[in-house]
Protein backbone atom coordinates (compact mmCIF):
# COMPACT_ATOMS: atom_id res chain seq x y z
CA UNK A 1 0.00 0.00 0.00
CA UNK A 2 1.49 3.29 -1.04
CA UNK A 3 0.13 6.80 -1.13
CA UNK A 4 0.15 6.65 -4.92
CA UNK A 5 -2.63 4.07 -4.93
CA UNK A 6 -4.68 5.70 -2.17
CA UNK A 7 -7.49 8.07 -3.15
CA UNK A 8 -6.98 11.80 -2.69
CA UNK A 9 -9.23 13.87 -0.44
CA UNK A 10 -9.72 17.64 -0.28
CA UNK A 11 -9.81 19.01 3.25
CA UNK A 12 -12.03 21.90 4.36
CA UNK A 13 -11.81 23.43 7.80
CA UNK A 14 -14.10 25.85 9.59
CA UNK A 15 -11.91 27.90 11.87
CA UNK A 16 -14.73 29.37 13.98
CA UNK A 17 -18.41 28.86 14.47
CA UNK A 18 -20.34 31.06 12.08
CA UNK A 19 -17.60 31.15 9.44
CA UNK A 20 -17.49 29.10 6.25
CA UNK A 21 -15.44 25.98 5.73
CA UNK A 22 -12.32 26.86 3.74
CA UNK A 23 -10.17 24.64 1.60
CA UNK A 24 -6.83 24.05 3.36
CA UNK A 25 -5.22 21.30 1.31
CA UNK A 26 -5.46 17.66 0.39
CA UNK A 27 -4.22 14.29 1.62
CA UNK A 28 -4.28 10.59 0.79
CA UNK A 29 -6.36 8.06 2.73
CA UNK A 30 -8.08 4.71 2.30
CA UNK A 31 -11.56 6.18 2.68
CA UNK A 32 -13.36 9.26 3.95
CA UNK A 33 -13.39 8.10 7.60
CA UNK A 34 -9.63 7.68 7.60
CA UNK A 35 -9.21 10.96 5.73
CA UNK A 36 -11.06 12.67 8.58
CA UNK A 37 -8.62 11.16 11.13
CA UNK A 38 -5.59 12.21 9.11
CA UNK A 39 -7.00 15.69 8.54
CA UNK A 40 -7.11 16.06 12.31
CA UNK A 41 -3.43 15.11 12.59
CA UNK A 42 -2.24 17.10 9.58
CA UNK A 43 -4.28 20.29 9.88
CA UNK A 44 -5.91 20.52 13.31
CA UNK A 45 -3.31 19.96 16.02
CA UNK A 46 -3.11 23.56 17.17
CA UNK A 47 -6.78 24.46 17.48
CA UNK A 48 -7.00 25.75 13.93
CA UNK A 49 -10.66 24.87 13.69
CA UNK A 50 -13.89 23.48 15.02
CA UNK A 51 -15.09 21.36 12.11
CA UNK A 52 -13.63 19.34 9.23
CA UNK A 53 -15.12 18.34 5.90
CA UNK A 54 -13.40 15.82 3.68
CA UNK A 55 -14.40 15.45 0.05
CA UNK A 56 -13.17 12.81 -2.34
CA UNK A 57 -11.21 14.83 -4.91
CA UNK A 58 -12.68 12.78 -7.73
CA UNK A 59 -16.15 13.99 -6.71
CA UNK A 60 -15.25 17.56 -7.58
CA UNK A 61 -16.27 18.77 -11.02
CA UNK A 62 -13.95 21.61 -11.97
CA UNK A 63 -13.94 24.16 -14.74
CA UNK A 64 -11.27 23.66 -17.36
CA UNK A 65 -8.39 26.03 -17.99
CA UNK A 66 -9.00 25.73 -21.75
CA UNK A 67 -12.58 26.96 -21.31
CA UNK A 68 -11.63 30.21 -19.63
CA UNK A 69 -12.05 32.35 -22.74
CA UNK A 70 -15.57 31.22 -23.60
CA UNK A 71 -16.79 30.11 -20.19
CA UNK A 72 -15.54 32.63 -17.68
CA UNK A 73 -14.98 35.78 -19.71
CA UNK A 74 -17.09 38.60 -18.21
CA UNK A 75 -17.95 39.94 -21.69
CA UNK A 76 -16.76 43.49 -21.21
CA UNK A 77 -18.43 44.47 -24.50
CA UNK A 78 -21.78 44.05 -22.80
CA UNK A 79 -21.43 46.71 -20.09
CA UNK A 80 -25.12 46.51 -19.14
CA UNK A 81 -24.29 43.16 -17.42
CA UNK A 82 -22.31 45.07 -14.80
CA UNK A 83 -23.99 46.94 -12.00
CA UNK A 84 -21.58 49.84 -12.58
CA UNK A 85 -23.28 50.48 -15.94
CA UNK A 86 -26.36 51.90 -14.28
CA UNK A 87 -26.65 55.41 -12.90
CA UNK A 88 -27.91 55.40 -9.38
CA UNK A 89 -30.48 57.90 -8.11
CA UNK A 90 -28.94 60.47 -5.76
CA UNK A 91 -31.04 59.09 -2.88
CA UNK A 92 -29.03 55.86 -2.90
CA UNK A 93 -25.85 56.58 -0.96
CA UNK A 94 -24.13 53.24 -1.06
CA UNK A 95 -24.58 50.22 -3.22
Amino acid sequence: MTAQTLPLFEIFIRSKRGLDHRHVGSLHAEDSAQALDYARDVYLRRSEGVSIWVVNSSDITASQESDVASFLDPMDDKPYRHATHYKLPKEVDNM
Binding site: L27, A33, D37, Y38, V42
Partner: protein
Protein backbone atom coordinates in the same frame (compact mmCIF):
# COMPACT_ATOMS: atom_id res chain seq x y z
CA UNK B 1 2.17 11.40 54.08
CA UNK B 2 4.83 9.19 55.69
CA UNK B 3 8.10 8.66 53.86
CA UNK B 4 7.28 5.06 52.98
CA UNK B 5 4.07 6.05 51.17
CA UNK B 6 5.90 8.93 49.55
CA UNK B 7 8.50 6.52 48.16
CA UNK B 8 5.73 4.23 46.91
CA UNK B 9 4.05 7.16 45.15
CA UNK B 10 7.34 8.29 43.57
CA UNK B 11 7.98 4.76 42.30
CA UNK B 12 4.42 4.57 40.98
CA UNK B 13 4.88 7.80 39.01
CA UNK B 14 8.24 6.70 37.65
CA UNK B 15 6.86 3.33 36.52
CA UNK B 16 3.93 5.03 34.75
CA UNK B 17 6.36 7.52 33.21
CA UNK B 18 8.59 4.65 32.06
CA UNK B 19 5.61 2.96 30.39
CA UNK B 20 4.90 6.16 28.49
CA UNK B 21 8.44 7.13 27.56
CA UNK B 22 9.39 3.68 26.23
CA UNK B 23 6.30 3.38 24.04
CA UNK B 24 6.61 7.03 23.01
CA UNK B 25 10.20 6.47 21.95
CA UNK B 26 9.29 3.33 20.02
CA UNK B 27 6.56 5.21 18.16
CA UNK B 28 8.94 8.07 17.44
CA UNK B 29 11.18 5.58 15.63
CA UNK B 30 8.51 5.52 12.90
CA UNK B 31 9.24 9.18 12.18
CA UNK B 32 10.19 9.34 8.47
CA UNK B 33 9.66 5.55 8.21
CA UNK B 34 5.85 5.49 8.19
CA UNK B 35 4.04 3.62 5.43
CA UNK B 36 2.94 6.94 3.91
CA UNK B 37 3.17 10.60 4.81
CA UNK B 38 -0.22 10.98 6.50
CA UNK B 39 0.29 7.91 8.70
CA UNK B 40 3.83 9.02 9.51
CA UNK B 41 2.47 12.29 10.90
CA UNK B 42 -0.30 10.54 12.82
CA UNK B 43 2.11 8.04 14.42
CA UNK B 44 4.51 10.73 15.53
CA UNK B 45 1.63 12.76 16.95
CA UNK B 46 0.73 9.77 19.10
CA UNK B 47 4.41 9.40 20.05
CA UNK B 48 4.39 13.00 21.28
CA UNK B 49 1.29 12.33 23.39
CA UNK B 50 3.12 9.50 25.17
CA UNK B 51 6.30 11.50 25.66
CA UNK B 52 4.24 14.38 27.04
CA UNK B 53 2.54 11.97 29.42
CA UNK B 54 5.93 10.68 30.58
CA UNK B 55 7.04 14.25 31.28
CA UNK B 56 4.03 14.87 33.51
CA UNK B 57 4.66 11.70 35.54
CA UNK B 58 8.42 12.35 35.83
CA UNK B 59 7.95 16.00 36.73
CA UNK B 60 5.55 15.00 39.50
CA UNK B 61 7.98 12.32 40.73
CA UNK B 62 10.78 14.90 40.78
CA UNK B 63 8.57 17.31 42.73
CA UNK B 64 7.71 14.59 45.27
CA UNK B 65 11.37 13.67 45.65
CA UNK B 66 12.20 17.27 46.40
CA UNK B 67 15.91 16.85 45.74
CA UNK B 68 18.05 17.89 42.78
CA UNK B 69 16.88 15.14 40.43
CA UNK B 70 14.94 16.59 37.49
CA UNK B 71 12.49 14.96 35.07
CA UNK B 72 15.31 14.83 32.51
CA UNK B 73 17.60 13.03 34.98
CA UNK B 74 14.91 10.44 35.56
CA UNK B 75 14.48 9.83 31.84
CA UNK B 76 18.07 10.08 30.65
CA UNK B 77 20.31 9.04 33.51
CA UNK B 78 18.88 5.72 34.61
CA UNK B 79 20.09 2.41 33.22
CA UNK B 80 18.09 -0.54 32.00
CA UNK B 81 17.73 -2.23 35.38
CA UNK B 82 16.35 0.96 36.91
CA UNK B 83 13.62 1.24 34.29
CA UNK B 84 10.27 -0.06 35.56
CA UNK B 85 8.17 -0.16 32.39
CA UNK B 86 6.01 -3.09 31.31
CA UNK B 87 7.80 -5.22 28.73
CA UNK B 88 5.14 -4.74 26.05
CA UNK B 89 6.11 -1.07 25.73
CA UNK B 90 9.79 -1.69 25.01
CA UNK B 91 9.41 -4.37 22.33
CA UNK B 92 10.83 -3.30 18.96
CA UNK B 93 8.26 -1.97 16.48
CA UNK B 94 8.40 -4.95 14.14
CA UNK B 95 6.25 -4.35 11.08
CA UNK B 96 3.34 -1.91 10.96
CA UNK B 97 0.90 -4.65 11.97
CA UNK B 98 2.95 -5.41 15.09
CA UNK B 99 3.13 -1.73 16.04
CA UNK B 100 -0.64 -1.35 15.66
CA UNK B 101 -1.46 -4.62 17.45
CA UNK B 102 0.65 -3.53 20.43
CA UNK B 103 -0.93 -0.09 20.27
CA UNK B 104 -4.45 -1.52 20.39
CA UNK B 105 -3.62 -3.67 23.43
CA UNK B 106 -2.13 -0.65 25.23
CA UNK B 107 -4.89 1.76 24.16
CA UNK B 108 -7.70 -0.52 25.35
CA UNK B 109 -5.82 -0.93 28.63
CA UNK B 110 -5.16 2.81 28.97
CA UNK B 111 -8.83 3.69 28.54
CA UNK B 112 -9.70 1.55 31.57
CA UNK B 113 -6.63 2.48 33.56
CA UNK B 114 -6.84 6.25 33.19
CA UNK B 115 -10.60 6.23 33.79
CA UNK B 116 -9.74 4.65 37.14
CA UNK B 117 -6.78 6.93 37.83
CA UNK B 118 -8.92 10.01 37.13
CA UNK B 119 -10.75 9.12 40.36
CA UNK B 120 -7.51 8.94 42.36
CA UNK B 121 -7.39 10.76 45.68
CA UNK B 122 -4.11 12.23 44.49
CA UNK B 123 -5.26 15.31 42.61
CA UNK B 124 -2.15 15.55 40.41
CA UNK B 125 -2.48 11.94 39.23
CA UNK B 126 -6.19 12.51 38.65
CA UNK B 127 -5.42 15.57 36.51
CA UNK B 128 -2.79 13.74 34.44
CA UNK B 129 -5.27 10.89 33.96
CA UNK B 130 -8.05 13.22 32.83
CA UNK B 131 -5.80 14.64 30.12
CA UNK B 132 -4.60 11.17 29.13
CA UNK B 133 -8.10 9.74 28.65
CA UNK B 134 -8.83 12.29 25.95
CA UNK B 135 -5.63 11.33 24.13
CA UNK B 136 -6.18 7.60 24.57
CA UNK B 137 -9.69 7.82 23.18
CA UNK B 138 -8.21 9.15 19.96
CA UNK B 139 -5.32 6.64 20.00
CA UNK B 140 -7.84 3.81 20.37
CA UNK B 141 -9.96 5.14 17.54
CA UNK B 142 -6.88 4.89 15.31
CA UNK B 143 -5.52 1.53 16.48
CA UNK B 144 -8.94 -0.12 16.45
CA UNK B 145 -9.58 1.19 12.96
CA UNK B 146 -6.21 -0.06 11.70
CA UNK B 147 -6.57 -3.53 13.23
CA UNK B 148 -9.95 -3.96 11.56
CA UNK B 149 -8.54 -2.80 8.23
CA UNK B 150 -5.46 -5.02 8.50
CA UNK B 151 -7.23 -8.08 9.90
CA UNK B 152 -10.04 -7.88 7.40
CA UNK B 153 -7.74 -6.69 4.60
CA UNK B 154 -5.55 -8.75 2.30
CA UNK B 155 -4.32 -12.25 3.02
CA UNK B 156 -0.88 -10.87 3.85
CA UNK B 157 -2.13 -8.12 6.17
CA UNK B 158 -4.36 -10.66 7.95
CA UNK B 159 -1.46 -13.09 8.46
CA UNK B 160 0.93 -10.42 9.70
CA UNK B 161 -1.62 -9.01 12.13
CA UNK B 162 -2.51 -12.44 13.47
CA UNK B 163 1.21 -13.25 13.88
CA UNK B 164 1.68 -9.98 15.78
CA UNK B 165 -1.11 -10.76 18.26
CA UNK B 166 0.16 -14.33 18.68
CA UNK B 167 3.54 -12.97 19.74
CA UNK B 168 2.19 -10.11 21.86
CA UNK B 169 -0.31 -12.20 23.77
CA UNK B 170 2.36 -13.37 26.23
CA UNK B 171 2.86 -9.77 27.35
CA UNK B 172 -0.66 -8.75 28.34
CA UNK B 173 -0.89 -10.44 31.78
CA UNK B 174 1.88 -8.16 33.05
CA UNK B 175 -0.41 -5.16 32.48
CA UNK B 176 -2.78 -6.49 35.15
CA UNK B 177 -0.20 -7.49 37.78
CA UNK B 178 0.03 -5.33 40.90
CA UNK B 179 3.28 -4.62 42.74
CA UNK B 180 3.23 -4.59 46.54
CA UNK B 181 3.60 -0.81 46.59
CA UNK B 182 0.81 -0.43 44.05
CA UNK B 183 -1.54 -2.48 46.23
CA UNK B 184 -0.63 -0.35 49.22
CA UNK B 185 -1.34 2.83 47.21
CA UNK B 186 -4.59 1.34 45.98
CA UNK B 187 -5.69 0.72 49.56
CA UNK B 188 -5.24 4.41 50.30
CA UNK B 189 -7.29 5.38 47.22
CA UNK B 190 -4.38 6.57 45.08
CA UNK B 191 -3.50 3.76 42.65
CA UNK B 192 -5.72 1.81 40.25
CA UNK B 193 -6.53 -1.86 40.85
CA UNK B 194 -5.13 -3.31 37.61
CA UNK B 195 -6.56 -6.76 38.23
CA UNK B 196 -10.10 -5.38 38.14
CA UNK B 197 -9.53 -4.08 34.60
CA UNK B 198 -8.70 -7.44 33.03
CA UNK B 199 -12.22 -8.71 32.41
CA UNK B 200 -13.29 -5.60 30.55
CA UNK B 201 -10.02 -5.53 28.59
CA UNK B 202 -10.44 -9.16 27.55
CA UNK B 203 -14.01 -8.77 26.36
CA UNK B 204 -13.21 -5.56 24.45
CA UNK B 205 -10.17 -7.17 22.79
CA UNK B 206 -12.16 -10.29 21.87
CA UNK B 207 -14.89 -8.19 20.27
CA UNK B 208 -12.41 -6.14 18.21
CA UNK B 209 -10.44 -9.21 17.12
CA UNK B 210 -13.66 -10.91 16.06
CA UNK B 211 -14.73 -7.94 13.98
CA UNK B 212 -11.25 -7.88 12.43
CA UNK B 213 -11.72 -11.59 11.50
CA UNK B 214 -8.74 -12.43 13.72
CA UNK B 215 -8.68 -15.22 16.27
CA UNK B 216 -7.86 -14.77 19.94
CA UNK B 217 -4.36 -16.22 20.41
CA UNK B 218 -4.06 -19.23 22.66
CA UNK B 219 -2.78 -18.26 26.07
CA UNK B 220 0.17 -20.65 26.37
CA UNK B 221 2.85 -18.69 28.15
CA UNK B 222 3.37 -15.25 29.61
CA UNK B 223 6.23 -13.15 30.79
CA UNK B 224 6.76 -10.24 33.16
CA UNK B 225 9.55 -8.66 35.13
CA UNK B 226 9.56 -5.11 33.83
CA UNK B 227 8.37 -3.68 37.15
CA UNK B 228 11.37 -5.36 38.83
CA UNK B 229 13.79 -3.98 36.25
CA UNK B 230 14.17 -7.31 34.45
CA UNK B 231 13.82 -6.42 30.78
CA UNK B 232 14.08 -7.89 27.32
CA UNK B 233 17.41 -7.52 25.56
CA UNK B 234 15.86 -4.75 23.44
CA UNK B 235 15.57 -2.04 26.10
CA UNK B 236 19.33 -1.53 26.47
CA UNK B 237 19.73 -0.71 22.80
CA UNK B 238 16.75 1.61 22.90
CA UNK B 239 18.06 3.51 25.93
CA UNK B 240 21.53 3.71 24.39
CA UNK B 241 20.06 5.68 21.51
CA UNK B 242 17.58 7.65 23.60
CA UNK B 243 20.11 8.65 26.25
CA UNK B 244 23.15 9.14 24.02
CA UNK B 245 23.01 12.93 23.92
CA UNK B 246 22.63 13.46 27.68
CA UNK B 247 25.28 10.84 28.45
CA UNK B 248 27.78 12.37 26.02
CA UNK B 249 27.01 16.02 26.74
CA UNK B 250 25.73 16.04 30.35
CA UNK B 251 23.25 18.81 31.05
CA UNK B 252 22.94 19.74 27.37
CA UNK B 253 19.78 21.70 26.61
CA UNK B 254 18.15 23.18 23.55
Amino acid sequence: MDSQSNTALINYCIALGDDSVTLGHRLSEWCSNGPFLEEDLALTNVALDFIGRARMFYAYAAELEGNDRSEDDIAYLRDCREYRNLLINELPNGDFAFTMARQLMVDVFDMGFFTGLAKSRDTMLAAIAAKSIKESRYHLRRSEDWIKRLGDGTEESHERTQAAFNELWAYFPEMFAMTGEERQLHNSGIAVDRGALEENWTSTMHAILKEATLSVPSHEWSIGGGRDGIHTEHLGFMLAEMQFLQRTYPGQQW
